[in-house]
């Protein structure tokens, strides 16, 4: 589905990503874990076109992403749930969701609106809040709205940036259950998380990012058992 080879991204002279290579296969949950400032968000922003890589290759379903603008990449089926939700606070829930289908709405208004019902089935609480302004929702509801919004684009690949930020543990559990549900219904998810334990628990594979480099990668169970990962990210001293 998504293949990345030797990607390098920099802010001015500061190289943030150094030769990152990774891939995501259809139907799996892949997680990228790492500490603050490791370059996780930079990587996602590079994939979805908000930042341009200095070098390397990125291919999504046979399409080269490196030179494309963000809106073209969304059209190719890659949708981002941004960090901190970034719902459109001054618009109501329904409008937020319809905006998610922006690239499809013009061509096929009916199908885009039919998608709304699916989203409401997945997140019943959004149906209850349909006409409420997005800014008045709770953090968990906003996260669901942000997820629903990007699902409206019917993406081939959903990328989530720190969905657990600022949410109560119980809500985080709820959100992660929904991510599993998404996978079960055939979606592909690239999940970026600081909450390594929770992310690895639901993921198929994982990459560990440290100061812009991938230091460990492998199946999620292996990473959970890996001594270095345990020490650095799971707060457990290896015995």
């Amino acid at each position: 589905m998504l293949k990345i080879k030797n990607i390098e991204t920099a802010y001015g002279n500061l190289k943030v990503l150094r030769r990152i290579s990774m891939h995501v296969d259809p139907g799996e949950i892949v997680t990228i874990i790492g500490a603050n400032g490791a370059g996780k968000t930079t990587l996602l922003h590079t994939i979805c076109g908000l930042l341009k890589p200095r070098a390397g290759e990125m291919v999504l379903q046979g399409n080269d992403l490196c030179r494309l603008s963000p809106e073209k990449i969304v059209k190719l089926g890659c949708s981002l749930v941004p960090e901190g939700r970034q719902v459109f606070a001054t618009m109501n829930v329904r409008e937020n969701l319809i905006l998610g289908a922006y690239v499809r709405y013009k061509k096929d208004k009916k199908k885009a609106l039919a998608e709304l019902d699916k989203i409401f089935a997945l997140f019943p609480v959004l149906k209850e809040r349909e006409n409420q302004l997005a800014g008045t929702l709770s953090g968990g509801e906003q996260q669901m709205l942000a997820m629903g919004r990007s699902l409206m684009a019917k993406p081939a690949l959903i990328m989530m940036d720190e969905p657990s930020t600022g949410l109560a543990p119980l809500i985080v559990k709820n959100i992660f259950e929904i991510i599993v549900k998404l996978k079960e219904s055939g979606n592909t998810v690239l999940l970026v998380e600081q909450n390594a334990k929770a992310a690895l628990a639901i993921a198929d594979r994982g990459y560990v990012l440290e100061t812009g480099k991938i230091i460990v990668q492998g199946p999620a169970e292996d990473l959970l058992a890996n001594n270095d990962v345990q020490r650095a990210y799971l707060g457990r001293e290896a015995v």
């Binding site: 603008s69 941004p82 970034q86 001054t90 618009m91 905006l99 922006y102």
Partner: protein, 354 residues
């Protein structure tokens, strides 16, 4: 939902008719003159409200677009183009009735363009200029954007002040009536005062309907999303640069329509219409109405423009609008209609304590 959003339009029409009846029966029909002018300024303000409130961009150059519309109409309908009458283009235009030929008191032929042609030219020119300005300028943000559009406004002001064809400091006068269709014309005659009042507010209503539809369309949602978070809007697949450009051009066209119409109504236009203080005034009107509050901007534009045109602010006119802008930014950044005085006072007191 769809019926509800048109309800204010109905109110607007009711108020317009009520005001006309009230003034006519009380013998104070002279108020309609200022109300007609007010409505053309309102047309500009609601266009600017789209750019500022809904797309979140600041333009300090809208008086420039107003002047481009007005001056193009005036120049094409008043200057003598007799020396160009040999050109094939002119003959072609003549065949389709786009040219008006008259004789002056010495028997010389005077050739002017038909107001409809002048109007079309004004809109076309404004669209081209708005695109040309918008493409580079809308890449700027915040106060850089304000500075760039301010520069554009100053350039237009200096051009109309220095061009002989545009009447230099005197402006252009004796602009003919704009015959929309037979028996319906935009002019400043006393006899046509009532009908011109209705033409003006009718145009404003059509403009309002267009913009209300735009706000609730796919494009409108995209604009509001850009206002909320440009990054997230981009991640939704919205081409942010193009959306901003479109709304900028649309609002420029609204300004040009207002300029052209008001020029025909007043029978002339002067360089003060292109002045920077005019642009500041329009920004102040949108701000006091509450940025993203369409009906708020319209209400405040109607009220304050009317008071200003009646001469209520005397020679302090520009000072009043400058002061309004400062006060609104300090104490009611969400506009006058979202103001709760007690809360505002409490905030000021608490700020001092800290």
């Amino acid at each position: 939902m769809s019926a509800k959003k048109y309800l204010p339009v109905l109110w607007l029409l009711l108020i317009v008719v009520a005001v006309q009846l009230a003034t006519s029966y009380s013998g104070k029909e002279f108020y309609l003159t200022q109300l007609t002018m007010t409505s053309y300024y309102c047309l500009l303000v609601i266009g600017l409200c789209m750019v500022m409130g809904y797309a979140g961009q600041i333009s300090l150059g809208h008086a420039g677009f107003f002047a481009i519309g007005g001056y193009t109409s005036a120049a094409l309908t008043t200057n003598n183009f007799a020396s160009y009458s040999e050109l094939t283009v002119m003959q072609l235009l003549n065949r389709y009735g786009c040219i008006i030929t008259t004789e002056d008191m010495f028997g010389d032929t005077i050739i002017n363009f038909h107001p409809w042609l002048a109007f079309a030219a004004a809109i076309l020119l404004t669209t081209i200029i708005a695109f040309a300005i918008g493409i580079p300028v809308l890449k700027l943000k915040g106060h850089y954007l304000a500075m760039a559009t301010l520069g554009f406004g100053v350039i237009i002001y200096r051009i109309v002040l220095a061009s002989e064809a545009l009447g230099e400091a005197d402006g252009i006068s004796e602009v003919p009536a704009f015959v929309l269709i037979k028996g319906l014309s935009v002019n400043g005659n006393m006899d046509d005062r009532v009908i011109n009042y209705y033409i003006a507010w009718g145009i404003l209503t059509i403009g309002a309907l267009l913009l209300i539809n735009l706000i609730n369309s796919r494009t409108g949602r995209a604009l509001r999303a850009i206002h909320a978070s440009e990054e997230a809007a981009s991640a939704m697949g919205i081409n942010t640069a193009r959306s901003k450009l479109y709304i900028f051009v649309i609002s420029a066209v609204f300004a040009a329509v207002a300029g052209a119409m008001l020029t025909h109504y007043n029978g002339g236009i002067g360089p003060s219409e292109a002045g920077v203080m005019k642009s500041v005034r329009y920004v102040a009107l949108v701000a006091i109405g509450g940025m993203a509050n369409f009906w708020g901007a319209l209400t405040m534009a109607a009220t304050l423009n009317f008071l200003s045109l009646r001469g209520m602010f005397g020679s302090y006119d520009d000072a009043v609008f400058g002061a309004i802008l400062i006060l609104i930014m300090l104490f009611a950044p969400n506009g006058l209609f979202k103001l709760s005085p007690i809360k505002a006072i409490r905030q000021i007191i608490n700020r001092d304590r800290r």
